[in-house]
């Protein structure tokens, strides 16, 4: 951007970290050689974990349904390779805690046999409900990282009658270029997916927001969208977190999403470019979501770039494929601003993993935190208009309710505040800790309320049982008394009869 453009058009919120996207973004897409084993987790989306429907020892084809959705907000899981189900057990989750979760292990038979699929010649002739059904059946979730089941989002969008589909080609995190790569290589597929999604939600136009540090992607998408005037390509200023829903919506349409509302309530729905491409695969070709492009980058990687790999591949295999200079000092799933630190490399790739970063010692260096000097950099950087320095001070002092009064709940943990802090205070960790504690308190309160109800219910049960017991005893007594009286009357009658 030119100097004046930078001053007048660049948003005041957010930060502008070093890009680190090239040369990985410019390297051609590589296909990972088929892995020997894949580990398909049952929970790769927001909502209920999928329920397995296969058994250990069962042979499966690529794309076969492994686990069905549980509940309204859930997504199915399909086999990323053809082979045999080796186990259904616990693997380490790609989560900071190092805890585990359930995954289905498949031994690859290397035959790459796809299951029978039902391609559709003209997806745009399908009814919106049919498109939604196919999207749900394909297990498509938000591939930008949010992993919200896309079909549920389509239904919501149709119900609230959104008029604009915003396609998120922002990819504002440094180091990542998976979306860049898919736009450059498969722009036609992305645009087709965009039009299918538009049909599914009933939108009149689609605005594709692409950060202006991706000129090749913008050019490719412009070419692909030329025949379709309802799909409009809109370059946006490069600034983190431009790829965040709320910020992108405001930049592209000027609409502001209220704090307690969803984007659909202002008439827009946001979907990632990779998600749209996956919808194209699912609806036009009948192929479920089993593979994705993932960026492997970082100082420790020999040949950084974008890799097309089956979901469920171990991170270690991806890193070995790209080669490592040295033992990574830290492995991150996602980008550096919001990514999850992985406990080790033996974790499977999940649907929402857009990048794996292997940092060397220099990149992984964490400066020691100092005292807050109230410089206000964090307040200026916060895209949501919060005051991180105040919230951090309250949480440090243990006053979580005070922090909540500063609208801690609106914080999206984007990391801008901790990025700009000259004292390097781990603000995001404070906020995540506080949010977790507040949710735990909320859950405890619900539990205590439920316990109170159970105690009351028990008291009522005991009362009722005592009452029934007393009534039964009284009834038996009355019966005995009546029987006694009857027997006495009979004896009397007999005696009278004998005397008479």
């Amino acid at each position: 951007m030119g100097f004046f453009e930078r001053i007048f058009k660049e948003p005041r919120w957010g930060v502008h970290p070093d890009d680190h996207k090239r040369p990985a973004a410019d390297a051609p897409l590589r296909i990972l050689p088929p892995p020997a084993k894949v580990y398909m987790p049952l929970q790769q989306h927001v909502g209920g974990a999928a329920r397995p429907i296969v058994l250990v020892g069962q042979k499966v084809l690529k794309g076969q349904l492994l686990a069905e959705p549980s509940g309204n907000i859930s997504a199915p899981i399909h086999a990323p390779v053809s082979g045999t189900v080796a186990a259904i057990g616990e693997v380490t989750a790609p989560h900071a805690s190092g805890l585990g979760f359930t995954a289905i292990t498949i031994d690859n038979d290397f035959e790459n046999r796809w299951i029978e699929s039902e391609p559709v010649a003209d997806p745009l002739a399908l009814a919106p409900e049919e498109i939604t059904k196919r999207t749900a059946a394909a297990g498509i979730v938000g591939l930008g990282g949010a992993t919200f089941p896309s079909a549920a989002k389509f239904s919501l969008g149709r119900r609230l009658k959104v008029d604009t589909l915003i396609v998120n080609g922002g990819e504002c995190e440094p180091y990542l270029s998976a979306d860049d790569r898919i736009m450059r290589d498969s722009a036609a597929a992305v645009v087709d997916g965009v039009r299918i999604v538009m049909r599914a939600i009933g939108a009149e136009q689609a605005l594709v927001g692409i950060e202006d540090n991706k000129p090749e992607a913008i050019a490719a998408m412009r070419v692909a969208a030329k025949p379709f005037p309802e799909v409009k390509i809109r370059p946006v200023p490069t600034r983190y977190p431009m790829g965040s829903d709320r910020q992108l919506i405001q930049t592209l349409t000027g609409r502001e999403v209220p704090a307690d509302a969803r984007a659909a309530e202002v008439g827009v729905l946001v979907h990632n470019v990779s998600t749209c491409a996956a919808v194209h695969q699912a609806v036009r070709f009948g192929r479920p979501l089993v593979e994705r492009i993932v960026t492997i980058n970082g100082g420790a990687v020999k040949e950084p770039g974008n890799i097309f790999a089956p979901i469920g591949t171990l991170v270690s295999e991806l890193l070995d494929f790209c080669g490592l200079h040295c033992e990574p000092a830290r492995i991150i799933l996602g980008g550096p601003m919001m990514g999850t630190p992985l406990p080790h490399a033996q974790v499977p790739l999940v649907k929402g993993a857009s990048g794996i970063l292997a940092f060397d010692a220099k990149e992984a260096f964490v400066p020691e935190a100092g005292p807050c000097i109230r410089c206000g950099n964090c307040t200026r950087a916060c895209p949501m208009g919060l005051q991180p320095l105040e919230m951090g001070a309250h949480i440090r002092a243990g006053d979580l309710d005070g922090a909540e009064k500063f609208m801690l709940g609106d914080c999206m943990s984007c990391g801008c505040c901790a990025y700009v802090c000259p004292s390097h205070i781990p603000l995001v960790q404070y906020f995540n800790h506080a949010k977790g504690e507040l949710w735990a308190k909320e859950r405890t309160k619900l539990r205590v309320d439920a316990s109170k109800r159970l105690v009351e219910a028990r008291a009522q049960r005991l009362e009722r049982e005592a009452k029934e017991k007393a009534e039964a005893a009284a009834r038996r007594k009355a019966e005995r008394a009546a029987a006694k009286a009857k027997a006495a009357a009979e004896a009397q009658g007999q005696a009278e009869g004998e005397t008479a």
Partner: protein, 356 residues
């Protein structure tokens, strides 16, 4: 690899800026004005500056050691040095050594460490020390000298300069005790001599001053230049300096137009006293000023107007230190009432209504 029981939180990248870098940048912005002041007032001012900065640093280290906190990281961040430097810039250049020593110790020990260290103090430490000195030692704090540049005849050399700082101005020295412009104007007014007459005899304020004042007073344009450089480097924002200078300039201009015989004109107000130093370096102190841009405007305007009021109608000729301290006291209130608007909420904090 990170241990499982202490995961490292995002973000996994951070700015290269640090507290020491910020302090060093501010000090570099002060260097031109300081060197000019050294040249203008000679060796005694250099020794005084050294004593003040040294005392401030020593006070900080002493307190940290007393509290069993690590000394080196805290001293390394340069905030104590900067406090001492700013205090030295506001003292009379030929003041005795114990003024600088007492001031430096007071600033870091009582006005900063006693509150809890960096980031915890309510009042600007340099200004607290200056006010304490002014009230306790009014004579020494208002004994200004006319400039006696380093290369002028009769200017003291290093050793005799040291002796001036240690023992006071000897009778043989050609230093001319003089009043600062503001002090002169106020004394004359209190004697009933109005400005149109008295200012004929007074030293003329210029941007490139050579009239008596503190180290930070005479080279107003060098101070302003340093301040503007800091604004471009995003160390400070324009809100406080602009608001403070406007707060001084606007009342000055209005009242001077109304009665030139009683009220000094706007350029004089802006160029004398600690107005420039205060606007760019002192009021902009992070810890003691509001953290939001709107709050900073209010704070700066308050500092400016109070400075003007104290200079014009109160008992002291110079008002910046008092004005800054009074506004420091209001900073928490400003911060609690002036908050940025949260995305998706209105000014009061309740959620917006959905609009397509």
């Amino acid at each position: 690899m990170n241990a499982m029981n202490t995961p490292i939180s995002s973000p996994h990248t951070t700015t290269t800026q640090s507290v020491s870098r910020v302090m060093v940048t501010v000090m570099l912005a002060l260097v031109p004005a300081t060197l000019f002041g050294f040249w203008l007032y000679g060796w005694p001012s250099i020794w005084l500056w050294l004593v003040t900065v040294g005392a401030a640093t020593f006070g900080e280290a002493f307190c940290l050691r007393l509290m069993d906190r690590p000394v080196l990281p805290a001293v390394h961040d340069g905030s104590a040095i900067l406090t001492g430097w700013l205090l030295a810039m506001s003292l009379p250049p030929w003041a005795p050594w114990w003024i600088g020593a007492f001031g430096g110790l007071f600033a870091t020990m009582l006005a900063k460490q006693a509150f809890g260290g960096l980031g915890q103090n309510l009042f600007n430490p340099a200004m607290v020390a200056r006010v304490a000195l002014l009230i306790s030692f009014p004579v020494q704090m208002t004994s200004w000298v006319a400039p006696l540049p380093l290369d002028a005849i009769g200017a003291p050399g290093p050793i005799s300069g040291l002796l001036v700082t240690l023992k006071g101005i000897p009778s043989g020295l050609d230093a001319v005790a003089s009043a600062s412009l503001l002090g002169f104007a106020k004394t004359e007014l209190s004697r009933g001599v109005d400005l149109l007459q008295s200012l004929g005899h007074a030293p003329i304020p210029t941007w490139f001053g050579s009239r008596p004042g503190s180290l930070g007073e005479t080279a107003a344009w060098l101070i302003a230049a340093g301040g503007v450089v800091m604004m471009f480097l995003r160390i400070i924002s324009w809100h406080i300096p602009l608001a403070m200078l406007a707060g001084i300039a606007i009342p000055a201009a209005i009242l001077h137009a109304v009665d030139p015989a009683r009220y000094l004109d706007m350029p004089t107000h802006l160029l004398s006293g600690g107005a420039m130093l205060g606007a760019f370096f002192i009021a902009t102190d992070y810890v003691t000023s509001p953290s939001t841009p709107k709050g900073q405007l209010i704070f700066g305007a308050g500092c400016g107007v109070l400075t003007y009021v104290i200079r014009t109608w109160a008992g002291y000729p110079e008002g910046v230190a008092f004005a800054v301290l009074l506004m420091n006291a209001l900073t928490p209130i400003i911060d609690s009432y002036v908050k940025p608007r949260i995305y998706g909420r209105d000014r009061k904090g309740s959620a917006l209504k959905a609009q397509r």
